[in-house]
């Protein structure tokens, strides 16, 4: 069996008396899209925070590309190749789209402690960044300040930044949120190709997208994974149907 890229086991996080993450175990294998679904308040955000490193778990382990990353900072995990997009797009608003991606490229290239060479004369940065923008179809918008990009374009920009990092896994937090039907469709097509780059842990409410893309689905309810399986297995799972999909079925 192939070694998973991301492997989470027995993860626990308490907020006072509330157990927000209750022994979560899941993994992400090469080439797959693994969707994480669950009702609001199921603890998806808390889980993502722990995977990225903004929150520290109380118990359990997180392994990424063969290393225990549970004690590493956000930046260190990112350096190992954990590419992430946010539920609400997170970009540097005053920078152009290009400079946003260039930031990721320079981080990938290693050193931000270079003080004298102007980045706008640094073709190794600009060319790589432009290539990433082209891949997400933002090439024409490269010089626009990120704050002026549309909602969907910011999503694309975030993905371009994750690509530029040479990510070994993508962690996408509700990429479809706030997208119109057209946008969702084209993003779905794009994500389908993205899986060849690196596996994707997809947190998503849009069931059409999930069912269209996911190789496997895990269902999170009250901080627990109540089921993991293929799309068909999840569709048929009685516990999932009552706990979560009831209103859909």
């Amino acid at each position: 069996m192939v070694e998973p890229v991301l492997e989470i086991s027995g993860l626990v996080k308490n907020f006072g008396a509330l157990r927000a993450t209750d022994g979560v175990t899941l993994d992400l294998r090469p080439g797959e899209i693994h969707a994480l679904i669950g009702p609001n308040g199921a603890g998806k955000s808390t889980l993502i925070h722990q995977i990225c490193g903004t929150l520290r778990q109380d118990a359990g382990t997180i392994r990424f590309v063969g290393r225990d990353v549970g004690a590493l900072s956000v930046a260190e995990r990112a350096q190992l190749g954990l590419g992430r997009t946010f539920q609400v797009s997170s970009i540097a608003p005053d920078f152009s789209a290009l400079r946003n991606v260039m930031l990721a490229v320079q981080a990938k290239q290693g050193s931000s402690f270079r003080f004298f060479k102007p980045v706008m004369l640094d073709h190794s940065l600009i060319d790589t960044a432009m290539a990433m923008l082209e891949r997400v179809n933002l090439g024409a918008r490269a010089r626009i300040p990120a704050a002026e990009l549309s909602h969907g374009e910011r999503r694309q920009l975030e993905i371009a930044m994750a690509l530029a990092l040479g990510s070994k896994a993508f962690l996408l937090d509700e990429p479809m949120a706030g997208m119109g039907p057209e946008g969702s469709k084209s993003l779905t097509r794009f994500l389908d190709t993205l899986r060849h780059e690196a596996p994707i842990l997809l947190v998503e409410h849009d069931m059409d997208a999930v069912f269209a893309l996911a190789d496997r689905i895990s269902v999170l309810v009250y901080g627990r994974v109540i089921a993991t399986g293929t799309v068909e297995e999840i569709r048929r799972d009685p516990t999932v149907r009552t706990a979560y999909l009831g209103d859909h079925a």
Partner: protein
């Protein structure tokens, strides 16, 4: 490539104006205006240092007077020891050579900046403002109470320190020394702003989480920026002490920290020539209003308030329009 857009034109005009005023004043036999222009250049350098942390990095340091004053005390203490012939520390004597003083003040403010930054940057927002203020107060009270170097009375530099080949006691020569360092300082600011480091620094002001998410540690970036910022402000302090031939704890006071911030805001936050524009404006206000009325601080307050409330881009913003980010 620097293009001749409006901001660059304004900047160029400012740079020329700053050098033209003392030259004309010299021709007219009005050396005081040279002194005034030197003051502008030095304050602009100090504020350029702060602008690196505050304008680019969004680090509102309310304690940069600590570095300004430390630079000043380096100049004062080294000159005093040079005069008395007693060693400063470990058998090393004082000096009256400006370039040695500059190197030492850069080192001293850099080291102190590293210590203050390492603790202060663990906090953010108001806490950062307040903890930097507290550190500056600590240095201030230390300087006031420590008996060795004049305490509250300060320390006089009897003869302005020397620079090889230049008669520093001549106002115009000393102005040129300060002007060159200011331009170098502004150049350094421009280089850093355009560099990879500058990109990471500005990005961490705009969105700290984003920076961490691409794998850059904001803390290290900020700490480095804070230290460079402290160094620039420190060397300005050394020049300021030489201008006045005097250094006292009031260079370390919290009002001084406030004034440095004021200079940046008056000129335009994060703008390359903002500190210079702000310093020029401030010194002119102080001089012109001070000549007109004893209540000049009242009117200075009013003007400041109006600028903050209604003219957020500062002078550069007014003249050159909104800042552009590539």
């Amino acid at each position: 490539m620097p293009m001749l857009n409006r901001e660059n034109l304004v900047n160029l005009a400012l740079a020329i104006l700053l050098i033209a005023v003392p030259l004309i004043a010299n021709g007219l036999g009005q050396p005081f205006y040279i002194t005034l222009a030197t003051r502008v250049a030095i304050l602009a350098l100090a504020a350029t240092g702060l602008n690196l942390a505050l304008g680019l990095g969004g680090l509102v340091s309310f304690g940069h007077a600590a570095f300004f004053g430390l630079g000043g005390y380096v100049a004062g203490i080294l000159a005093a020891h040079n005069f008395s012939g007693e060693p400063v520390i470990f058998g090393l004597g004082g000096t009256n050579q400006m370039w040695v003083i500059w190197v030492v003040s850069i080192l001293v403010s850099g080291i102190v900046g590293l210590a203050i930054g390492a603790i202060s940057l663990r906090t953010s927002g108001v806490y950062f403002i307040m903890i930097t203020l507290a550190f500056a107060q600590m240095v201030y009270y230390f300087a006031i109470s420590w008996p060795a170097y004049g305490g509250q009375d300060g320390l006089s530099i009897l003869v302005r320190n020397q620079f090889p080949g230049i008669s520093t006691m001549r106002p115009l020569s000393f102005f040129f020394v300060c002007y060159v360092i200011l331009i170098l300082g502004i150049g350094l600011f421009a280089l850093i702003r355009a560099s990879r480091f500058g990109a990471a620094l500005q990005a961490s002001r705009q969105n700290e989480v984003r920076v961490a998410t691409v794998g850059i540690r904001p803390f290290r970036i900020r700490l480095t920026a804070f230290v460079i910022s402290a160094m620039l402000t420190g060397i300005a302090g050394a020049l300021f002490a030489d201008l006045n031939r005097f250094v006292s704890p009031s260079m370390l006071s919290w009002q001084m920290s406030g004034e440095l911030i004021v200079l940046i805001i008056l000129g335009g936050t994060g703008r390359l020539f903002g500190p210079l524009a702000g310093a020029a404006l401030y010194v002119v206000f102080e001089y012109a209003l001070g000549g007109m009325t004893e209540r000049w601080q009242f009117f200075l307050g009013l003007i400041l308030l109006l600028v903050v409330l209604f003219a957020r881009g500062g002078l550069i913003g007014l003249l050159a329009g909104k800042a552009k980010h590539g």
